[in-house]
C-alpha cells in the first residue's frame, strides 16, 4: 500500500509538482490540489481500497497531507479487512 497510495493521490490530485518531491508531511493544497481535486482523491482512494470515508473524515485536515491520508486509509482498510 505504501507506494500505491502515492500513485493514487498523484493520479487524482492534479498537483502542480511531482509527488516524488513531496514528503508525507507536505501540504497537498499548497502543492496545487484544489478542493474539487481533493474530492477526486477521496473517490479514487475509496475505489482503490474498497473503503468509504465516514463524514467525520471528510475534512481538509485529513486530505491535507499524504501522511494523514495514509493514516485514514490504513484505519479504514484495517476495519474493512477485519
Amino acid at each position: 500500500m505504501e507506494e500505491s497510495i502515492r500513485q493514487v493521490i498523484s493520479d487524482a490530485a492534479n498537483l502542480k509538482i511531482d509527488i516524488a518531491t513531496l514528503s508525507d508531511d507536505d501540504d497537498l493544497f499548497e502543492a496545487g490540489m484544489t478542493s474539487h481535486a481533493s474530492v477526486n482523491v477521496m473517490l479514487s482512494l475509496e475505489n482503490e481500497y474498497d473503503i468509504e470515508f465516514p463524514e467525520s473524515m471528510l475534512t481538509r485536515a485529513v486530505f491535507r497531507t499524504i501522511g494523514s491520508l495514509r493514516a485514514a486509509v490504513s484505519e479504514l482498510y484495517g476495519e474493512a479487512a477485519a
Partner: protein, 304 residues
C-alpha cells in the same frame, strides 16, 4: 423530494395580506404590486449606494446556455438544484400523442427533448464567460453589476425559499489581493446597507448546499477556508435566513473560463449577492405587513 416542515404562519399572513400569491406549487409565488414596489426600492438603493464604485452594468435573461453552466462546474456540485429546459421537437403524430396524454392526465415527459439552455441558478454565472470573452482583465481588474431571476429546484413552504427568485450581485474579478480587499470591505458595508433600512443582521460563516457525500467534503472545505459568509435575518424558518452572501471563489472561475489578469496570472473572483425577495420578506417581517406604517426613514430610502 421531501418538503421540509416550516412554520407556515408568516406565509399564511403574507398570502392573506395579498402580498404573495400561491400558484399551487411550493416555492412558486406571485408577488403583489406593493411587494414589487418594496423589492425594486431596495434594488434601487443597492444601485445608489454602489454607484460610486463604477461597476459595469450587464443583464442576462433568466436562462443560460447549457455549455456555460457545464463549464462552470455547477452540475458537478449542484445537480439536485439545476433546472434544464426541455421542449418538444417531435413529429405531428407525436404532437397529437402529447396533447392526448396531457388531456388524459398521463405522463408526457418522454416526448420532451433537452434544449441547449438551462435556467440560471445564480445571477453571476453568465458574467464569467462574458468577461473571459473580452480577453485579459484591465489593470485593477473589473467590477460587474448583475441582477436577474434565478432558479433552484428546492420546493419548500418557507416563503424565503422560493424556487424562482431574483438576485442583485456585484462581481469582482482581479488579482488575488485586490479581490480579497474588495471582499473584506463588503463584510461591514453590506451590514450597514441592510441596517439603513432597519435590518439588523448577523454575519456567519456558511457553505453552499453541495450534493451528496462529495458535497459534504466541499462544504467542509469551504467553511474551513472561510470562503462563504452570509448575513442572516430571522424570517420564517427555524434558523435565520441568509439575505446577503459574500463568496470568495479563489481562482475557480478564473481557471474554468481561462480569465487572466493584466499580468497574465489566473484571475481570482468574488461576488456579493442580495436575495431581493428575501430582503423584501425581511422588511415585511421587521416593519409589518402595512408599508404605510413603516418608519419614515426606511420609506424614504426605499422610495415608498
Amino acid at each position: 423530494m421531501t418538503i421540509p416542515a416550516e412554520d407556515t404562519t408568516f406565509l399564511e399572513e403574507l398570502v392573506a395580506a395579498g402580498l404573495l400569491v400561491p400558484t399551487g406549487v411550493s416555492g412558486v409565488m406571485g408577488r403583489s404590486g406593493t411587494f414589487e414596489h418594496v423589492l425594486l426600492g431596495f434594488d434601487a438603493l443597492v444601485d445608489r449606494s454602489t454607484a460610486a464604485d463604477g461597476a459595469e452594468v450587464v443583464r442576462f435573461p433568466p436562462i443560460i446556455p447549457t455549455a456555460q453552466l457545464e463549464r462552470s462546474g455547477y452540475l458537478a456540485s449542484f445537480p439536485h438544484l439545476a433546472g434544464s429546459v426541455f421542449s418538444f421537437s417531435g413529429s405531428e403524430a407525436e404532437a397529437i400523442d402529447l396533447a392526448t396524454r396531457v388531456a388524459g392526465g398521463a405522463d408526457w415527459s418522454d416526448l420532451q427533448t433537452q434544449t441547449d439552455v438551462m435556467v440560471t441558478p445564480a445571477a453571476c454565472y453568465p458574467v464569467y464567460p462574458w468577461v473571459a470573452a473580452a480577453g485579459a482583465l484591465p489593470p485593477g481588474g473589473r467590477l460587474v453589476d448583475i441582477s436577474g431571476a434565478c432558479f433552484r429546484h428546492e420546493p419548500s413552504t418557507d416563503p424565503a425559499r422560493m424556487q424562482s427568485f431574483r438576485m442583485h450581485e456585484l462581481v469582482r474579478l482581479a488579482a488575488r489581493d485586490e479581490v480579497l480587499d474588495w471582499h473584506a470591505g463588503w463584510i461591514d458595508r453590506g451590514g450597514e446597507l441592510l441596517a439603513s433600512v432597519g435590518l439588523a443582521t448577523e454575519i456567519v460563516p456558511a457553505s453552499d448546499p453541495f450534493f451528496g457525500r462529495v458535497g459534504r467534503m466541499l462544504a467542509s472545505s469551504q467553511r474551513e477556508q472561510n470562503l462563504k459568509l452570509e448575513r442572516v435575518f430571522p424570517i420564517a424558518a427555524e434558523k435565520p435566513t441568509p439575505i446577503m452572501s459574500l463568496n470568495y471563489h479563489q481562482d475557480h472561475f478564473g481557471l474554468d473560463f481561462e480569465i487572466r489578469t493584466s499580468d497574465g496570472e489566473v484571475a481570482h473572483s468574488a461576488c456579493l449577492a442580495f436575495g431581493l425577495e428575501r430582503v423584501t420578506l425581511a422588511l415585511f417581517r421587521e416593519h409589518g405587513l402595512d408599508t404605510e406604517t413603516w418608519p419614515d426613514g426606511v420609506r424614504g430610502l426605499l422610495g415608498l
